[in-house]
């Protein structure tokens, strides 16, 4: 009874979506016809005016600039031109919002920079002082060490976990979609404040792990510099595993491309399931590991926890003023961000090269 009702509900929802789609399709046609009748001629006139003037004239296969530079328009040249037209908007954005800010913040990281209402940004060159300050800082250094430790432990953990899950889901089991849905769910809801609150309430440690004997033994017997990061990681274990959402799907997509005939041939030759996993499954998803490493490192590094490095960088930038002695302003913030970024890239390349292993020829 209930099943029937749910089925009808789902059916009606599907119908509604179908209606919307048809509506859009219909609408699209009407718009395109209207466009073709009324707007296109107008554009054609503009185009004609643009391509038949003194500066630029296009005649058949020739483009004439300033009436004397003649360029033959080959198909290849035209394609290159169109390519640049299509990515033009991206090139502009890259220059304004990525390359220039990168260069500028690199420049600022060698400066002492403050924001001044009258003069804008005031900078004085201080060489490597910002970086030296970071290396001396008693707040930042432990944070960086923590960050590295966290990455070193959790990246392999996530990779192994996601391989296990994807191999499990790839078995011929029922309700594949549901398992996928479950393991992808964290990607949707993992927003900073929610994660912070869950961490604060200790909902992210493995259930019943905290009272286990192993946990107590670890915290009591190890020296604090190992035990502290370890307990930290164990306490936020679930949050770390939540980063596996996309890697699981990546591995799954890779596994589904493996030819089943390969497994069959191996099993006829007498390979056990264990052998098949190590000799077929793992090598076939090996190239995907480095992609996943990049994704995991980036997404983990971009998580901003209160009092973390990224949060501190923001604080230095916002609070930094020429009259405050504690904060070192824009330059210091930029240096921090750069050190963080470089560390991130180093970790990424090390992990990717470890997991990718030797290249077979």
């Amino acid at each position: 009874m209930i099943k029937k009702r749910i089925a009808t509900i789902i059916k009606s929802i599907k119908q509604a979506f179908l209606n919307v789609r048809q509506f859009i399709a219909k609408y699209w046609e009407i718009i395109s016809q209207w466009w073709f009748k009324n707007i296109s001629p107008f554009f054609k006139k503009i185009k004609y005016a643009l391509t038949h003037n003194f500066l630029l004239r296009i005649e058949h296969q020739k483009m004439i600039l300033f009436s004397f530079i003649k360029i033959r328009l080959t198909r290849r040249r035209l394609h290159a031109l169109y390519g640049f037209i299509f990515i033009f908007i991206w090139l502009v954005g890259l220059a304004i919002f990525t390359l220039y800010p990168m260069a500028y913040s690199l420049y600022l990281s060698f400066q002492e920079a403050y924001y001044n209402l009258q003069q804008g940004v005031v900078t004085t060159n201080i060489g490597f002082q910002n970086y030296i300050n970071i290396a001396r800082s008693s707040i930042l250094l432990p944070l960086f060490a923590d960050y590295i430790g966290r990455m070193v432990i959790s990246v392999p953990l996530i990779i192994v976990f996601s391989i296990i899950i994807s191999v499990l889901v790839n078995n011929p089991i029922k309700m594949k979609g549901i398992w996928r849905t479950i393991f992808f769910l964290p990607v949707i809801i993992s927003t900073g404040p929610v994660l912070n609150e869950l961490m604060a309430q200790e909902a992210t440690s493995l259930p019943s792990l905290q009272s286990s004997a192993v946990f107590n033994y670890l915290t009591n017997s190890l020296s604090s510099w190992i035990a502290d990061p370890l307990t930290n990681i164990l306490n936020s274990m679930l949050m770390i595993l939540w980063y596996a959402g996309i890697p699981i799907l990546v591995f799954l997509a890779g596994l589904q491309k493996v030819d089943p005939a390969l497994y069959e041939a191996a099993s006829i030759d007498g390979a056990s399931a264990w052998d098949r996993f190590w000799k077929i499954t793992l090598p076939s998803i090996k190239p995907l590991i480095s992609v996943n490493v990049v994704y995991i490192v980036v997404s983990m590094s971009l998580y901003v926890d209160a009092g973390g490095i990224l949060d501190l960088a923001r604080l230095h930038m916002l609070v930094g003023a020429s009259d405050s002695s504690i904060w070192f302003g824009y330059g210091y913030a930029a240096a921090m961000a750069w050190v963080y970024f470089i560390l991130m890239v180093i970790i990424m390349t090390i992990f990717a090269s470890i997991f990718a292993g030797r290249k077979e020829r």
Partner: protein, 311 residues
């Protein structure tokens, strides 16, 4: 006459049932797999379940260590307070409208840029494409100092344009992934389609509009959904550029402060407890959950679309 119970046959049957023809299709194997999956997904979903259950608990239930999964009574008061603190009906519309705008901008720009990369050959394309992918690993914290100054110059600081402009130019949040999705999709369209249109006299823009765009509808949906979710969840950059309490997650970030404004400490029954916090969390992620369960297929299909599994 009843058939005699044959021990041998029973044995072989049980064996067949438990271990199957080659173990992989036996009952035990399946059982182990299901058990593992169920336990892993319990671990995985534990925080969400915790959040859901705790959001309904009364104060007594919270303190009582004997009550873990089933509250004695469902407390709707938590939710009504969370709604009040998060200014509910208004804030959800505001957030949705803002995120819709930004993710529409990101989708449209990446569909154009992806076409440029996928369809045409031009000098320096490989370098530019590599640069495009490399922008994915660049944290926004590296560029934030300079970006702040740029936005101040443009006089768009603390307005939505600070998010819209990068999104429009394909530099927004995770824009590299979106462009990659479109790129891979356009690569799968046979070039013969477009070339024949070209021969028939269609300009490149017309080919793009009438052939590539309508075919790319599923990619549109995927990119749009993802950018919606990611922009919804983004808090660092949004807080920095747009303002401190524009989206629901940002309102959640200052939940404690705004709670104390609404229910000043000292009055009876006004203490902020974990249950109310959890209710706030649930409210914040609820729109995304609904979206996820409606469009679940598109989310989980997305990975195949990026084509990173190699062609």
């Amino acid at each position: 006459m009843r058939k005699k119970f044959d021990v041998y046959e029973f044995k072989t049957r049980m064996k067949r049932f438990l271990f199957g023809m080659k173990f992989m299709d036996g009952f035990i194997y399946k059982l182990v797999i299901y058990l593992l999956l169920v336990s892993f997904s319990y671990i995985y979903l534990y925080p969400i379940l915790y959040m859901l259950v705790n959001s309904f608990k009364t104060v007594d239930d919270l303190i009582n260590p004997g009550i873990r999964w089933v509250p004695t009574a469902i407390e709707w008061e938590n939710y009504s307070r969370a709604f009040q603190v998060l200014e509910f009906p208004q804030s959800i519309f505001d957030t949705t409208w803002y995120v819709l705008k930004v993710s529409a901008a990101a989708t449209i720009s990446s569909c154009i840029i992806g076409y440029g990369f996928a369809r045409f050959k031009f000098p320096g394309k490989k370098i530019l494409f590599g640069l495009m992918l490399a922008t994915f690993i660049l944290p926004s914290q590296v560029t934030m100092v300079a970006n702040m100054i740029i936005y101040k110059r443009l006089d768009i600081m603390s307005s939505e344009w600070t998010m819209l402009l990068p999104a429009m130019t394909g530099q927004g949040l995770n824009a590299a992934i979106f462009i990659l999705i479109f790129y891979q999709f356009y690569k799968t369209i046979p070039t013969i389609l477009m070339e024949s249109a070209e021969v028939d006299g269609a300009s490149q823009f017309r080919v793009f509009r009438t052939i590539a765009l309508p075919l790319a509808l599923p990619s549109f949906l995927i990119v749009f959904l993802f950018s919606f979710v990611w922009y919804w969840n983004e808090t660092f950059v949004t807080a920095l550029y747009v303002g401190n309490a524009v989206t629901l997650p940002l309102k959640l970030q200052v939940f404690r402060a705004s709670y104390e404004l609404l229910f000043p400490p000292g009055t009876a029954g006004s203490e902020l407890n974990e249950a109310i916090m959890m209710a706030g969390n649930m409210v914040t992620i609820l729109p995304l959950l609904v979206l996820y369960f409606v469009a679940q297929r598109y989310f989980t299909e997305s990975i195949d679309r990026t084509g990173i599994t190699g062609e």
